[in-house]
Subunit: 417 residues, 2 copies
């Protein structure tokens, strides 16, 4: 596509957003019911298109991991429909009165939640994101411009056609769901520069995509950085609890951002705990790296390099470090961590409070696994992503994080003077 | 300065922020009392430095407007001290519990307001901004990196020295207030790319500065765009009220962003209202431009060009347009406006509601002047600026808008899965 074509798509989405942004809750839910019904009715059609796309991608030598991500099994397809129904059931964040005040001069001021407007979503292979992300945006009253992975372009195109029909069926402009139908990276660049039409861009994907977008966007970005998460086992920790939390945080799903990548152990506990947890981790299939002090206790642990302390493995690997005290643990986490999710295991309330207060991360835990950082687990009902930045949204992002607000002011001829 | 020196300043501010971010309310207020006392004690010293700087700037031919902005009168200096005292008296936003929930599995989750961290402020000539902005940032627990206008660098340098002493006097690291002591625009560029150390950059200044920053920043930006504000006089408006609101919104302080720049009049009212308001505006010294319909009623009105509808005059100029109905007024405002502050004057409740709902601006008014868009007028107690973007903060930004939040999670050994 040309830059001008992308800009025209941006303007179309913005224009649709001005209608959608004040559509009623009932209207937006009807739209989503149309989406669910249409997905159900067209399962065979979509799955056939997806099978063809997967087979073409397989022939070009796409890696098995990416092929798997691209593939719609009937189960995945139905989970996607269930996801839409869950979004319908969520309370509508739009219209919520966040603050209200009567000012001395008589002005009545309300701060009211409104949709963000026009949201760009950039994502990689999984085609279900097309529907998941669109459903959340639409529920929150936002028009959406989608740009999916190039491998999934045929499947995404077919899904977007269904979504647009559903939008029209609800009496709303089709451009509420718009799609950059191309596999050219230059179109991503053009998209993230449409500051006149898009209110925000949310990239979902690997590090390379995120860095590219951060470096080139003119539209504000809400991005998901690394998840280099820590568990710190304090001197007073219950060792059985510490062991269970470390194993859960590391191994329950090692490929996701809230899995633990580092284990810090208080030196007073090291002799007792480190050999034991290294054994348990290895039994669970985890490769263990460690600092010199760790290796003094378990000599066959692989030495950790300096770069390990900042690395997000997303794999069955963990690096262990023995620290002098709570302060050293906090300093290490704030220096080398990614401000995502970090946990302390302790029986000392004062230490728990200090950790929770001083660790500068989106989610801080005492005596629980870092794996809980998730929109569903936190009770948000759904999740469009996890933010590791501090502006606008931090941690799991649900429907509310897809909104802004406006100040509504009512007077009786009030003048400033 | 070299890019590396700016980066080192960024790291110093970030490091100081990790201490300040969990300083108690009492400690931050003591710091601000130190600031106020030190400013009082050093008035002669600072005013002397400022006089010298103003006289040097005068000799190099700085414009009278900029010279005036640069000048500290004793009155302005004392207002700045009063401002610091007002900030001390404001409630502390940090630590506020925004949400809390006990999850089915027993996790206790709180969403707690925390400082943003390290905030960059980029501003132009007025040296009082050095103190105003630093006081707000410090009160909200943020370390601040300041970059003022090059004309005021000597005055700003002296103010920053006082601020740093006050910080140290409160037992906090001096780098809580840091300063880019240079007049080189390249340092602004280096500053807005310190995404590793700064959490946000807030530019305060003219269009050119803002566009430069939006185009080049890697750090997230909260910016103040144009204020192309409208008053729409609906068919049912009380004409005396409409006249008073238009005159107030346009003339009470025409150089500021919440002053009205456009007047839209419902066609049913035009014959009666337009000649009358044009006369009143001219009597008040306002130059009136208009569309063809306006000129049909008042032939000596200057024709408005297409570009007028998007222009922020910041001067005693207004452009008048006659519109067919409420829908046309809303469409015009959403298309040509700047999403800042827009008002309707009407006696029809349904029209008021439609305007408030459909006009996509930070502040929307019924029967009141747009001039009220201001942190003090809205009851925020202070203002670091006005945001015209939708992300993070919209409209007047006070202490809360200088904060983020974190998720604090307490368990009893909770595991996922």
């Amino acid at each position: 596509m040309s830059v001008e074509e992308v800009a025209a798509l941006g303007r179309a989405v913005r224009s649709a957003s001005t209608v959608l942004s004040h559509a009623s809750t009932a209207m937006r839910n009807r739209l989503l019911r149309n989406v669910a019904a249409s997905l159900r009715a067209n399962e065979d059609h979509i799955l056939a298109i997806n099978r063809e796309e997967v087979s073409r991608a397989g022939a070009t030598g796409l890696s098995p991991v990416l092929l798997d991500r691209l593939t719609f099994s009937p189960k995945r397809y139905r989970q996607m429909i269930t996801g839409v129904k869950e979004v319908i059931a969520l309370p509508d964040p739009v219209g919520e009165v966040l603050e209200k005040v009567k000012r001395p001069g008589g002005l009545f001021i309300e701060k009211i939640r409104v949709p963000l407007g026009a949201v760009g979503i950039i994502y990689e292979a999984r085609p279900n994101v097309t529907v998941d992300a669109a459903a959340l945006c639409l529920k929150a009253g936002n028009a959406v411009l989608l740009r999916g992975g190039s491998e999934a372009v045929a499947t995404n195109r077919a899904l977007v056609a269904l979504l647009r029909d559903a939008v029209v069926g609800a009496g709303l402009p089709p451009d509420c769901v718009s799609f950059i139908d191309s596999t050219d990276r230059a179109d991503v660049l053009a998209m993230i520069q449409q500051a006149e039409s898009l209110d925000v861009v949310i990239p979902r994907g690997g590090k390379e995509l995120i860095s590219f977008i951060r470096a080139n966007a003119l539209v504000p970005v809400i991005a998901h950085g690394d998840g280099n998460c820590h568990v710190f086992v304090d001197a007073s920790a219950d060792l059985a609890m510490a062991e269970a939390i470390v194993i859960n945080a590391k191994t329950q799903r090692p490929s996701v951002c809230n899995a633990a990548e580092k284990l810090l152990v208080h030196k007073r506990l090291a002799t007792k705990f480190v050999p034991r947890i290294v054994r348990r981790l290895r039994d669970a299939g985890v490769e263990v790296l460690g600092d010199d002090q760790t290796r003094a206790l378990v000599p066959d642990v692989v030495p950790a390099a300096d770069t390990d302390w900042t690395t997000e493995y997303l794999a069955m690997v963990i690096a262990v470090k023995i620290v002098d005290d709570l302060g050293a643990a906090i300093a290490h986490i704030n220096t080398y961590g990614s401000h995502h999710s970090d946990a302390i295991v302790t029986r000392t309330a004062r230490n728990a409070d200090k950790f929770l207060r001083e660790v500068d991360s989106a989610a801080v835990y005492v005596n629980a696994s870092t794996r809980f950082t998730d929109g569903f687990e936190f009770g948000l009902g759904a999740e469009i992503g996890i933010s590791t930045q501090k502006l606008h949204a931090r941690g799991p992002m649900g429907l509310r994080e897809l909104t802004s607000y406006k100040w509504v002011v009512r007077g009786k001829g009030n003048l400033r003077g």
